[in-house]
């Protein structure tokens, strides 16, 4: 509701600006569409993209799809109607998003994907994603070390429609499964959600009070799981996350969550805008469509350098 209003207002504002100032002053607009900013990861992406767009002289239209493919489809219609020059997208489903991206392409509007892939190539101009497999292996290696290579553990998995949920789980298991004394006693989805992870963790604890560790597909679920463990007086359980959020950084500094893996979300979003700008001006980016960006392990040793999904030098 709030979003629709905001969106309508920005469309109206665009219309007014266009009518009043004419083409000479109306800046070209880039749409930035991501999941809900409730998760700071997506907010960092949107902020990074918007800052770079502004720097390059574009107006922005910042929208959220709340992981709803139908809503995303409507947002694409709105962006197309508003005549944006490019769309920066963190999508709402690897399969379900293909049609929306293609619709924009058919109208001559290029899309630049960040964070999550879609299952078709040749529809988006760029797909810049974190090297989730490499990152998950880093997280798993740290988890194995923290666990002393043995004990029962639980895994929290992300949203099934998101390729990143599967790839991180695979990266974890390609490392952890090599250690026969590490036993998976529960593997459940909490859909990337902090509140859902809290509930799931409570029930896992009841069924398996002997768990020694929890490896989570992202930081919000790690935060939820840790809160449930803390409430149950089980701060001894080792929790490892994925994303590199400031929340988990602060928890690591206090000795709560033990480690996470930083995805360079801010930089990634900025790269997408730079590529969009180049494409708008020259018709090409000069790069491959699908691009991987490496992740970095964050633990007590370097947590203090982490700020808004980027490492300070």
């Amino acid at each position: 509701m709030k979003l629709t209003k905001r969106l309508l207002m920005s469309v109206v504002a665009l219309g007014i600006a266009g009518a009043v100032s004419g083409t000479a002053f109306a800046a070209d607009t880039i749409a930035i569409i991501t999941p809900s900013h409730d998760n700071p990861f997506f907010k960092a992406e949107a902020d990074g993209a918007a800052a770079k767009a502004k720097e390059l002289g574009y107006a922005t239209m910042v929208l959220v799809h709340d992981d709803d493919a139908n809503k995303q489809n409507e947002l694409f219609d709105n962006a197309i109607a508003a005549g944006v020059k490019a769309i920066i997208l963190d999508n709402a489903g690897a399969d379900a998003s293909v049609a929306a991206v293609k619709k924009a392409k058919d109208k001559g509007i290029p899309s630049f994907l960040i964070d999550r892939e879609i299952t078709t190539t040749g529809v988006a101009v760029s797909q810049i994603v974190s090297n989730n497999y490499q990152g998950a292996q880093l997280g798993a290696e740290e988890f194995v070390k923290l666990m002393g290579e043995k004990g029962n553990y639980a895994e929290l998995v992300g949203k099934e429609s998101d390729t990143n949920a599967g790839i991180r789980s695979q990266g974890y298991h390609d490392v952890i499964d090599q250690y026969s004394d590490l036993k998976s006693v529960a593997k459940q989805t909490a859909n990337w959600s902090q509140t859902e992870a809290y509930t799931v963790m409570e029930s896992i604890l009841q069924a398996h009070p002997d768990i020694k560790g929890v490896i989570s597909g992202n930081d919000t679920m790690a935060m939820g799981a840790y809160a449930a463990l803390e409430a149950a007086g089980r701060k001894d359980v080792i929790v490892v996350g994925f994303d590199g959020s400031n929340d988990v950084r602060d928890s690591i500094k206090k000795g709560g969550i033990k480690a996470t893996v930083l995805q360079p979300a801010y930089q990634q979003a900025q790269n997408a805008v730079v590529q969009a700008d180049k494409f708008i001006k020259t018709g090409k980016t000069g790069l491959e469509e699908k691009q991987l960006m490496d992740c970095i392990l964050i633990n007590a040793a370097n947590a203090s350098k982490l700020e808004t999904f980027a490492l300070k030098p």
Binding site: N131, Q134, L292, M293, D294
Partner: protein, 222 residues
């Protein structure tokens, strides 16, 4: 829209099921006529259906190893070049993947003395001395657990854009590592103290790090 794609995938599934059924009937017929074992037919068809395994089979010996051989830089020269500046060394000898946080991938070769061998870990390694000072200055991975995807990323043979998603691309990285491991000396061949010639790939993220090389061949010098 979603319904349409569901129908398409359901149709695809039906087609696959039908194909399997046809195959199955055909192989049953073949079995009854020729006495061939049904198991073999199923194995062959499932192997052919895995594009990753097929990619590895068709490219590892035919393309990857020759490409590494052609471009490989001697480890001693590489380490000198890295000391003078990683980015410069990368630009002249390497391939960069993974953006700013990512490292440079180098094809690498050399002859060295194995000063230590760790087979106790599943991620087995051999520490090698490449400049003859008796100290280890690089590590060869011996598996079965291998870190990284240097074999996949060091040449331009495998383009991420041609794979369905990261999961497929990661499977390729792992399959190439597994294939390479199958060609390396096993634990029955102790390497400690031996002189070896190797060819492989390595990713370097900072100038100071000790290279962790993923070899495609290790030959014990006579």
């Amino acid at each position: 829209m979603q319904n349409a794609s569901r129908v398409v995938s359901a149709l695809k599934e039906m087609r696959v099921t039908m194909k399997i059924r046809t195959l199955f009937v055909a192989s049953l017929l073949a079995a009854s006529v020729s006495g061939c074992k049904l198991v073999k037919t199923v194995d062959a068809s499932s192997a052919a259906a895995d594009p990753i395994a097929e990619t590895v089979e068709t490219t590892f010996d035919a393309k990857l190893v020759p490409a590494l051989k052609e471009k490989a830089v001697d480890i001693v020269a590489l380490q000198d070049a890295i000391k003078a500046g990683l980015d410069k060394a990368g630009e002249s000898h390497g391939v960069r993947v993974g953006g700013a946080g990512g490292g440079w991938n180098f094809p690498v070769k050399g002859s060295a003395t194995v000063v230590d061998e760790n087979r106790a870990s599943k991620a087995a390694t051999a520490d090698i001395d490449v400049d003859g000072d008796g100290k280890a200055d690089a590590t060869l991975q011996l598996g079965p657990v291998v870190k990284g995807t240097a074999l996949r990323d060091t040449t331009n043979l495998y383009d991420f854009s041609t794979f369905r998603d990261q999961i497929e691309y990661a499977r390729l990285g792992r399959a190439l590592n597994d294939k390479a491991i199958s060609k390396l000396p096993s634990a029955d061949t102790p390497l400690k103290g031996k002189k070896v010639n190797f060819l492989g790939a390595v990713v370097i993220r900072s100038a100071g790090e000790k290279p962790l090389i993923m070899p495609v061949s290790i030959e014990v010098a006579p």
